[in-house]
Symmetry: D2
Subunit: 346 residues, 4 copies
């Protein structure tokens, strides 16, 4: 089998860089070209010196990347992907859009939360939301995958078994999520100056984060109906990882044993979701640098609430890793190919 | 005015050490003696080398500390204070118990959650829960203050205005709290090994933390009635600080403006509680090494929930700082004397 | 005694902010006004939210600060102070220049390393290098103190006893220094992005750091003669602190005992320099948030080299703390007034 | 080709755990069994939860591991390996000893520095010091490799070109090295308690570290003759990585260009050593989680000293990664097989 010729557009950002790291080790991939609007002409290894001598390609323009590739990963800010995707699809290329432009089916919601109007609405009917645990078969069939947001991935995986089994009262849902600093991207700001972030911790975008409608729409697809979720993100002084603590009232009288067994059964065949034994709780450090999602859960009998804790690496299962998982599905490769199954021990 | 002769029992632990740091700079205090069960004979500065040449006293036994002092700070694990407090009170000394033995009025609850039976129940009728913002006048009159737990301090200060004004439906309360590592104390364990904790973050004691009944009882005292709270603590990879995110449904139709104004008015005269301007959110790093509590809040209109974020330094307002605040009140000193009003900028 | 009316020029940078923190707690100081070129009109507490409600003054222009004050702290980049100092001195104000403009007596060296020509050379004859352990009496007499650089402070204090006693062969000196991130200042750059600096460590400006001529000139003043020093700084993933490891051959046959005794005697009366017991080594965390310098030393008999390790907090003894120490001396206050004698224990 | 049947003795420590992580992803390896003296019967994934569902094997005894394997990695404290190695070799197995027992050819030195006497001196004549860049051909031929220490690896790679070319005066060598916390191992102590190590940095074992004779002996093998080196290690608040700063006088008049060209030529064909372009300096974060060594260098003309900075991941090129590199050589696999060529970007 010949390798898939793969290009990365927007490769100078953190997600692009992580993707390059995974793709270079993927046995069935040739990385053709990489582009960056701001860094055209510079070497990838000048921006990311760990690749010195390993990947010294210069950033080129988007067109060169598209021409050279069968499949494109696009890692651009919202509003910047749609026209490029159109161009790629028209040329018969496959696309995995790692940004936000194709995540929402409801284009009105997209416009409301992102302030951008879709120019190619038809394109959205063929795109598939790339959460493999939910849409594996559709991903296999499509040419255009919308890679999920980092927070939604951790939250949706944590809630999917309970929501699809109608175990919980969604009106009571509280989502308290905590992310590492790479989630804020490569841009410079006081908030990510080491001296400010180190030994600091804070909530931000309280109730207003753009991942909110994505969480709501996909929970709806999972069977939750119309829901308004309360979602509060926080910024941790670590490089990687998201831990989401999910609180929701049990809709009927279900005990901890039964819920736990349901979760275990639900994810028994999933290579990248691990339900921990009762009494064990996940740690961000147990999944960083891997494509794993670890889930712990219990029922608080005093308040009849289900508590679920879900952790992922925001750069892997929350972005680049999941993109490659989608790539493997779209190209009929082994779903785990080229992906890290377990985090380093420290 | 002569200085108050103050001793510290259990001075080798983290809270004891922080207390020594504050007391040495307090203009109206002489530190007499310090004790430690495990470190008797060793120098304080051998355990805490930053005090080399500044406080080289050896740890002595408890009796020597008691004899030498008018007022005792006791920083011992639960179950270890009560008998010592009895001894001090019988000798006419004042006591600030920084541990858990006197925090709960309901001794049945204490026994249930801590597994220890009170030997001197009468002593508890005269003790006062040392949250100055709630009990300032009682603290002024008593000889025995029970210094609050770190999590309860951050949570109770965050909820006090809303609860006492009956603005919220307490059955919907969710408390998601995050603490720095010093909250786990000086003891060695895999959980606090640097290589495990660094770049890690996890929930622990989910729904089972011993501060739960303290939060519930004091919320009741504030006007909440009988409540079961859902409290989930997490352990941050920072040395100091607690950030509590509090979620609770508004009982009536109150808007963000009104709630915010209520909070500002409620704490207008408090030297150690700062309500942030709308749109600003507190950060652990803005209070560490100070006795401040910063509070930010908003109303999420989509879910009609009040969201309050409260931060303190677990070692200062959450332990040693608040103990000295109580000391100042009990001894008729200026309440802010010897305490840090503002965190260093970084 | 009335308080000294003190103003801070360039108060929006890290050193300015640290200085404000110290001065607000100083019992003999009134902070009059603060200035910032870039942040005029903004509140100090908007930049440094830990001061919310404690110091909400707006930044004004330099002239307003000068008019309102008897003594000025100037915290500006090199080349920006000299003209302002001239203006202050002409008006009869005292000045502590925390920047680099007056540190070097040799104005040729200054021009060579900083690329800036002095406009008021006469002013330099009256300025005193503000290392109190070296120049205490001159500081007491002057109206203009040049506050030392952070690296030079840690290095000069580490070498002073050995150099002034002619114990060492200066041609063999190697200085390997490591600084926390605040040493790089408040400016944004990839190098101080949390995701880059966290878990990172590197050498920088190898052999070319501008503190090199300052170290050389002052070592000369201490008795070293003309020396070229080899100085390599590194950037630690911590907020504060400098640790300098100093390697130098013993000029004559001196043993570890004798050198250690010499160091202890040399610094016996210094309030802010602590020579550790033999076998103990200093840690950055033992001095951060204090004005202390801790020094450990030994002789490696296998190579006949003296090894000295010196630690300070770059923001305190390395900048703002030392500036206040100089202030205390210049204004005939107790030298330790308002300064932290010991670091918090954690 | 059938996979090599590989066992790990002492797999519960940090080096063992890192090795398991690498071996599980190695395409030509089957991990047979793992042993641990203290953790027999426990699951590997109970100690290292990131392997939950991925490697849940119990720790067994050493004999079971040996019987099941063709090649053994032994990761035990000094003094614990030699007898086990004897047992393995007698049974015709190959061995890579990741501990210290076979690193020194001079058994007298071993006894002097480690306080342990060799029981099987003959065994040492056939062992090869496993620094592939130095001993590749010998490694290919032997059945017993002594994997180098972490500090020596970073230091020897940094000095090898200069020493073997006789460019430097070894009597002037100063080695200032800084290691991440995993270098101190899994054991609990105050020194690695998060609250102590976080924001801390210190020198330790100044001039007395056991890697000293290993550095000296191997430098001798490289052509340095008999040397006493001055080696001072420091402990960084990061999980991984060693940065060694090496200072040595140039023996003859060589300029920076020439030295740099020599280093580039020397390592041109080495897959795991990268000499950086002039003006670039390595960062620990550029090599962590990879088997790379990055080297930067310059000549300080003011002092005629060569300065070399060398970084590795102490757990990879400094331990487990280099062990697998040696494994690949010993088993005639591609030398880079299963190893990470480049660190993640963050």
């Amino acid at each position: 089998m010949t390798n898939v010729q793969v290009g990365v557009i927007g490769a100078s950002g953190y997600v692009g860089a992580e993707l390059i790291g995974i793709l270079l080790n993927h046995p069935n991939v040739d990385v053709t070209k990489v582009s960056s609007g701001q860094n055209k002409g510079r070497l990838f290894s000048d921006l990311y010196p760990s690749y010195t001598g390993q990947f010294d390609q210069p950033f080129v323009d988007n067109e060169t990347v598209i021409e050279a590739s069968e499949l494109l990963f696009i890692c651009l800010p919202h509003g910047k992907s749609e026209a490029l995707v159109k161009q790629c699809i028209d040329k018969g290329k496959k696309v995995i859009d790692v940004g936000a432009d194709f995540r929402l089916d409801d284009l009105g919601l997209y416009e409301e939360w992102y302030g951008v109007e879709s120019q190619f609405p038809d394109l959205h009917t063929s795109s598939v939301y790339g959460l493999p645990e939910m849409n594996r078969e559709k991903i296999r069939e499509t040419s255009l995958v919308a890679n999920p947001g980092c927070y939604p991935t951790s939250i949706l995986l944590g809630l999917y078994p309970a929501v699809s089994s109608k175990l919980v009262d969604m009106n009571t849902l509280v989502i308290d999520a905590k992310s590492g600093v790479t989630g804020a991207g490569k841009g410079l700001s006081d908030a990510v100056h080491f001296a400010n972030k180190n030994e600091g911790f804070n909530a931000y975008k309280v109730g207003t984060h753009r991942h909110t409608p994505e969480i709501e729409e996909k929970l709806g697809d999972m069977g939750a109906g119309d829901v308004n979720v309360l979602f509060v993100p926080h910024l941790l002084p670590v490089n990687r990882g998201i831990l989401s603590t999910l609180y929701v009232a049990l809709a009927e009288n279900v005990d901890a044993e039964k819920v736990h067994a349901l979760y275990e059964a639900f994810y028994a065949d999933e290579p990248f979701v691990t339900v921990l034994k009762k009494g064990n709780w996940p740690n961000i450090s147990h999944v960083t640098h891997s494509n794993q999602c670890h889930i712990g859960l219990t029922v608080d009998e005093r308040t009849n609430r289900l508590i679920i804790v879900s952790v992922i690496d925001n750069m892997q299962k929350g972005a680049a890793g999941q993109a490659v998982q989608n790539f493997n599905i779209m190209t009929n490769l082994k779903e785990t190919e080229g992906l890290s199954m377990a985090a380093p021990s420290f």
